[in-house]
């Protein structure tokens, strides 16, 4: 066990150095130069040099990278160049909002996809399967923007219905929260469920063709028992992989389109603005924490694999 943990830790350190070095290099050599966004209308060469120096652009790459690593180690994330807000509070504030925004859609999307995939697999080749597959294709082919705009018109602003707010964010009460996440959740489910179904259906269909399923049926097990007691546990590894590796996206990248169109101050919008503005402190913090989240998720996935599949425990 100690060897395993040591190996995992070394992997994590190597991954973090790789991720930060690559992203730092990309930002330094290909990222936007903020100097000219922060200058006034009639800058003098001295003012340009001053801003350049304040942004640290005059230092060499190694100095900048080491300084960045040092600050990350002590969790000194600095301040956003564009807004002046402390990056730590910016990320803490916005990632929680993104989590609250995306979690219901994430859970519902996966749960719904799983149910429909099982249904599809059970009726493989028959009309429910064909209907679900077609719906899944439509879901995958439809642009997120189109779904959002259509929902805003149909459920918010058309006629006198106005079931949900067109946009905005409030967590003042549970009801307020539900009202504001209803449409983003629906949009998220509609655009993501197709992809989930495609994967889950393939996995379940493959498992349904196994000998043990035929045996279970021969022993008189009903479809619910077969699906939930026998097939689902054997499909868990790919399902866990898909679900667990999506978690960092909830925490770090958010959803730019949902946040932009529904006016939700989450981390997706912050990330997008940081990329387009070249706001290095924010971007580097996001990239670093994405790396950390990935490492954690990898370990979580490993632990879950061993929990659901005893054979892996023996191998370890």
């Amino acid at each position: 066990m100690r060897d395993y943990l040591l190996k995992q830790s070394l992997n994590a350190v190597a991954l973090m150095i790789g991720v930060t070095l690559l992203s730092f290099s990309l930002l330094v050599y290909f990222g936007p130069d903020q100097t000219y966004s922060l200058l006034g209308k009639n800058p003098t060469p001295e003012q340009i040099a001053s801003v350049h120096q304040q942004l640290g652009y005059d230092q060499n790459f190694a100095e900048r990278y080491l300084d960045f690593l040092k600050r990350m180690l002590v969790l000194d994330l600095g301040y956003a160049q564009s807004s002046g807000e402390a990056v730590s509070s910016l990320l803490a504030r916005t990632s929680m909002i993104s989590l609250a925004l995306l979690l219901p859609g994430f859970v519902l999307g996966h749960a719904l996809a799983l149910l429909l995939s099982m249904l599809s697999a059970q009726y493989q080749g028959r009309w429910p399967d064909r209907l679900i597959s077609m719906a899944s294709m439509v879901s995958m082919s439809t642009s997120t923007v189109v779904v959002i705009i259509a929902l805003q018109w149909w459920l918010s602003s058309s006629g006198d219905s106005g079931w949900f707010p067109v946009r905005g964010w409030s967590t003042d009460s549970v009801i307020d929260y539900l009202r504001h996440i209803a449409m983003p959740t629906l949009a998220l489910v509609l655009v993501s469920v197709g992809y989930h179904i495609r994967i889950y259906r393939a996995v379940i269909c493959e498992e349904m063709g196994q000998d043990y399923v035929r045996t279970a049926r021969a022993f008189g097990a009903g479809p619910v028992v077969v699906l939930f007691r026998h097939v689902l546990p054997n499909c868990l590894l790919p399902i866990i992989t898909r679900v667990v590796f999506s978690v960092p996206l909830l925490l770090v990248s958010g959803s730019l389109l949902l946040e932009s169109y529904f006016g939700i101050p989450g981390i997706g919008k912050v990330s997008f603005d940081a990329i387009t503005n070249g706001d290095q402190p924010v971007l580097l913090a996001i990239v670093t924490f994405s790396g950390v989240a990935l490492v954690l998720v990898q370990n979580l996935a490993d632990a879950l694999y061993r929990w659901v599949d005893p054979r892996l425990r023996v191998q370890t």
Binding site: P32, D33, Q34, Y36, S37, L38, L39, G40, K41, N42, P43, T44, P45, I48, S50, V51, Q54, Y79, S82, S83, G84, E85, A86, R93, L108, A111, L112, L116, M118, L119, I149, Q152, S156, S157, G162, W163, F164, P165, V166, R167, G168, W169, S173, I175, L178, R179, A182, L186, G222, P223, V224, E259, S260, Y261, G263, I264, V270, D273, N277, G278
Partner: protein, 602 residues
């Protein structure tokens, strides 16, 4: 077989029930009100977000809308008067100007207080004094502030640039910023600067307390401590919420003084605010909605009270464009104002660029002048206006836009009328052929609209004989990167918009003043000794016919020199809900009018 079918049916029903359950969960809502009903709330939608609330960074209209409402400036623009006219705000009166135009004495109102803040010793806001005004101007010159507004006073105020060069030590005074007493200051200029009062109405000049800057440090940009009509409640990437500053001074509205004209404003219900002291709403919300479809949907739903009508819905919004008239079905719910921006859209030639610019060899100079004039003649402003501005923009010759008092209505419009034959003739007469025409690189920030603007520009150039492969696009990831290319003089043509910072044509004419060449504001590196002489003479003159004539002469010189493909002022369709009593404006004055907005509940 029958048993299997039954089992299948059971499974199908269970799944359908589970799906239905989730759908019900999604849809459940009880229409809770969004805010306490007794509060008067005005919601203003903007097409971009405010990112920084420090007056020193108030370089965009989006920042000024918030900054002007949480901070005070010495002067402000009258609510309804057009052309724009100044009136005292934090100052008690307009400034007293010395006979030589070098000293401005300004007295402050007494009893004006900053809002309460932990930045102050006892947490309670203290009185605003002349020392705060001096400090607020000095900090623009402190490199640590990273101000974007220092250019307003750069080289203008005695000792200020030297104070910055000597290390920006706040314990040392600046000779040009004299404190006469606690509520009076005198500004000493290096040379006359008639635009100074305008700069003191600009959001950059908003007065901040030193305690707050020191207390919040970098995060001062998110923790405004001002003496304006509102104070900040919350601020994020989608919304800023302000509430009325309860301690705001009482200044009853004098409609006549504000420029009320019954013929223009009579229908808007503005008489209702006469004699009352602003602000009139309890809460002022700014909704940042870059996506035009979401902004329009929110406006139609009544979630915001104001929006600029997006181009995509103008055909639904307007019954006709000339003159613009709102569609009948919208008239019961909304009001509309069509306003020309005090700004210019133009394409400036870079006079340093190979092939296009000014040349030391007279013959080559003449050839390159002809090339620039041919490009100008080939540009179709009418089509540009139709394609990108819904035919609502105002096309005018030169660089002085119609919204400015110095605009010359009698100036020939030849320079904005397309003449392809003339352009071809000019090129032929000066020996330009498809083989020897120089590469014309068109730099734009990355967006579909900008790409379309380039494609249109290229089609115009093809018409006058420019080969397709010699009109090329260079896209930049951000506006900052494009700005860097301009400042480094890397592009032959600079397509940009310039919004006026104050209602004086000098603000645009300085873009062509030789000493302002890159990295200064003269991105085109235009150089003409006669122009510079006139500019220097006019820039120290008070407004009057003589100065206006000089401005117009400079404008004509730019046209004769074919310095730029110019120009167009965009027209904006401002729409607001009838429950709001307002006369919206989106010009350089940036949101100053919001203190006068009132709402009537349905």
């Amino acid at each position: 077989m029958l048993e299997k079918t039954n089992r299948d049916g059971q499974l199908l029903r269970r799944v359908l029930l589970a799906t239905l359950g989730m759908t019900v969960l999604l849809g459940c809502e009880d229409r809770a009100p969004e805010q306490t009903p007794q509060l008067k709330v005005y919601r203003h939608a903007m097409d971009q977000a405010t990112v920084d609330l420090d007056p020193a960074a108030a370089a965009t209209i989006y920042s000024t809308f918030v900054v002007n409402n949480v901070y005070d400036t010495l002067f402000m623009y009258k609510y309804l008067a057009r052309p724009y006219a100044l009136k005292p705000n934090l100052a008690a009166t307009l400034p007293e100007v010395s006979a030589d135009g070098l000293s401005y004495t300004i007295r402050l109102r007494r009893g004006v207080k900053f809002i309460d803040s932990p930045a102050f010793d006892n947490g309670q806001g203290r009185e605003v004094t002349a020392a705060d005004v001096v400090y607020s101007m000095m900090r623009h010159f402190d490199p640590a502030t990273r101000s974007q507004g220092a250019w307003l006073w750069q080289g203008r105020i005695q000792g200020l640039d030297q104070w910055a060069a000597a290390g920006a030590d706040y314990s040392k005074s600046v000779s040009g910023l004299e404190l006469v007493d606690s509520h009076q200051l005198r500004i000493h200029l290096t040379r006359p600067y008639p635009q100074l009062p305008y700069t003191l109405a600009n959001a950059f000049s908003a007065v901040v307390p030193k305690e707050a800057v020191d207390h919040f440090g970098r995060e001062f940009s998110r923790n405004p401590v001002g003496s304006g009509p509102f104070e900040l409640v919350s601020f994020d990437t989608s919304k800023a919420v302000l509430r009325a500053n309860e301690g705001f001074r009482s200044v009853p509205v004098d409609l006549a003084e504000e420029g009320f004209d019954p013929a223009v404003h009579g229908e808007l219900g503005i008489e209702a605010i006469a004699g009352r002291s602003p602000p009139f709403v309890d809460e002022l919300e700014f909704h940042f909605v870059p996506e035009s479809s979401a902004r329009w949907a929110a406006f139609r739903r009544g979630e915001v009270d104001f929006t600029l009508a997006p181009n995509e819905v103008l055909d639904l919004t307007l019954a006709q464009t000339s003159p613009p008239q709102m569609a009948e079905e919208l008239q019961t719910d909304y009001r509309m104002r069509v306003a020309t921006e005090p700004a210019v859209l133009f394409n400036i030639f870079n006079m340093d660029s190979e092939g296009f610019g000014q040349h030391t060899d007279p013959l080559q100079n003449e050839r390159q002048h002809a090339l620039r004039c041919a490009i100008i003649a080939g540009f179709d402003w009418q089509q540009h206006n139709e394609r990108f501005y819904f035919d609502l923009g105002e096309i005018f010759p030169g660089v002085i836009p119609p919204d400015v008092a110095e605009f010359d209505p009698n100036l020939s419009t030849d320079s904005v009328i397309r003449d392809v034959d003339y352009a071809k003739r000019l090129l032929a007469e000066h020996g330009w052929t498809a083989e020897n025409l120089p590469l014309l690189t068109f730099g734009v920030p990355g967006s579909i609209t900008q790409r379309n603007i380039f494609e249109q520009f290229r089609s115009f150039m093809l018409d006058i004989g420019y080969p397709r492969d010699k009109v090329v696009l260079q896209q930049f990831a951000t506006f900052g990167d494009l700005n860097r290319a301009w400042k480094r003089s890397e592009l032959p043509i600079i397509n940009k918009g310039w919004g006026l910072d104050y209602p004086d044509a000098e603000n645009i004419l300085q873009l062509f003043y030789g000493p302002n060449r890159t990295p200064g504001s003269n991105d085109g590196n235009y150089q003409n000794d006669q122009y510079d002489l006139w500019y220097e003479k006019a820039s120290v003159m008070q407004p009057g016919p003589e100065r206006t004539e000089l401005y117009r002469s400079m404008n004509r010189l730019l046209i004769d020199d074919c310095a730029a493909i110019t120009g167009l002022s965009r027209t904006q369709v401002l729409m607001w809900n009838r429950r709001a009593i307002a006369y919206p404006d989106r010009a350089m004055v940036g949101g100053f009018y919001l203190r006068f907005v009132d709402v009537v509940e349905d």
